[in-house]
Symmetry: C2
Subunit: 208 residues, 2 copies
């Protein structure tokens, strides 16, 4: 009787180098392609495997479900998203953020991924967690611009920075999901402006 390997371990953790890494990369790329071309509903792990030049058994063993694959894709994307650049005025920083969000949602690849993850998150806890992680990181990245604006006196001192950042994205996502209207630059500017004015008026103050 030889020592049995840990049956509970996720494949890819013990020997993550070389082949395993190449497989992961190829599968994530293929999944992104398939998603952008055919959409979430038609996403088929066997097809992803074929596109990636990989056995379908491998995809099922490593990820198991479509939602798990999406979560991995999102984590992968989170690592390579652009950092905020400091500008100096709150309104222009919020506009920069809104423009970035708009570009992301409009991009055929990233937009499709977001829609898919959002759909998956409504019924799958793992996908939901991946989504929450993603937004927590993004919000944390942009919150400082509000904090600095508070120090400059542009907005009330007890303004909740995260609320302001979320307020910029919210209308863009809402429009994407609930209307057929395309997300244009005017929508992005409007979103930034609205969040800015609301913050200045004290709508996002924490202490009561």
């Amino acid at each position: 009787m030889t020592t049995a390997p840990d049956a509970g371990a996720v494949p890819g953790t013990v020997r993550p180098g070389g082949r395993t890494a190449r497989v992961r990369e190829a599968v994530l790329r293929a999944a992104g392609d398939a998603l952008a071309e055919r959409g979430f509903a038609h996403l088929d792990l066997a097809e992803v495997a074929r596109r990636a030049g990989v056995g379908k058994t491998t995809v099922y063993r490593r990820w198991g479900t479509v939602t798990a694959l999406l979560a991995d894709l999102l984590d992968d994307m989170a690592e390579q998203s652009e950092p905020r650049v400091e500008v100096g005025s709150l309104l222009s920083e919020l506009e920069a953020n809104a423009t970035l969000v708009r570009r992301t949602l409009t991009d055929s690849r990233q937009g499709a991924l977001f829609k898919a993850v959002i759909a998956a998150a409504t019924s799958d806890a793992h996908a939901a967690q991946a989504l929450h992680r993603f937004y927590a990181a993004r919000v944390a990245e942009w919150a400082p611009c509000v904090r600095q604006a508070a120090e400059r006196g542009e907005v009330p001192a007890d303004t909740d920075p995260e609320q302001v950042v979320r307020a910029v994205s919210a209308p863009l996502y809402y429009q994407l999901l609930t209307t057929g209207t395309p997300l244009d630059q005017a929508a992005a500017e409007r979103a930034a402006r609205a969040a800015y004015e609301a913050a200045r008026a004290g709508a996002f103050r924490t202490g009561r």
Copy 2:
């Protein structure tokens, strides 16, 4: 050779009375129950048929897909949603709207339905259209309160009423989908307040 019935017709349109109506009602109720209990991902038309005490063939013949059934459910719900009651001040009307939206999204039955339809809409055109119809109707229902406020001079005269109404809902949906935080009443009030302040400051003016 007898006259062939129109093969392209949707079942239930020629003899919509009695049995057909009862079946539709039972299936929609069962679908709503199943959705609330087991979630979108586990929604199975055969199970819906069983719950409704109806043959699964019938469900497939009448609706065909899960998304079509969801669209029908949403249309059904749209007919019975509460009308707005006039209050008098814009802020309190927007708060009433925010509270209504919050209650809807928080309700286990309706909330599950919304999440499901949103998920379906990201990849199915029919579900997306049903969703757009629903929101267009809801927004049209509430837009007048902004118009009246504009006449009273509470907000700039060229404020776009629909933008304001959408701005109230957006943060609530955004929070529901992208964070794990529960939707509390404070969130509803904040959403209303933010939309109100932004509108007053002219963030939703149409002419440039």
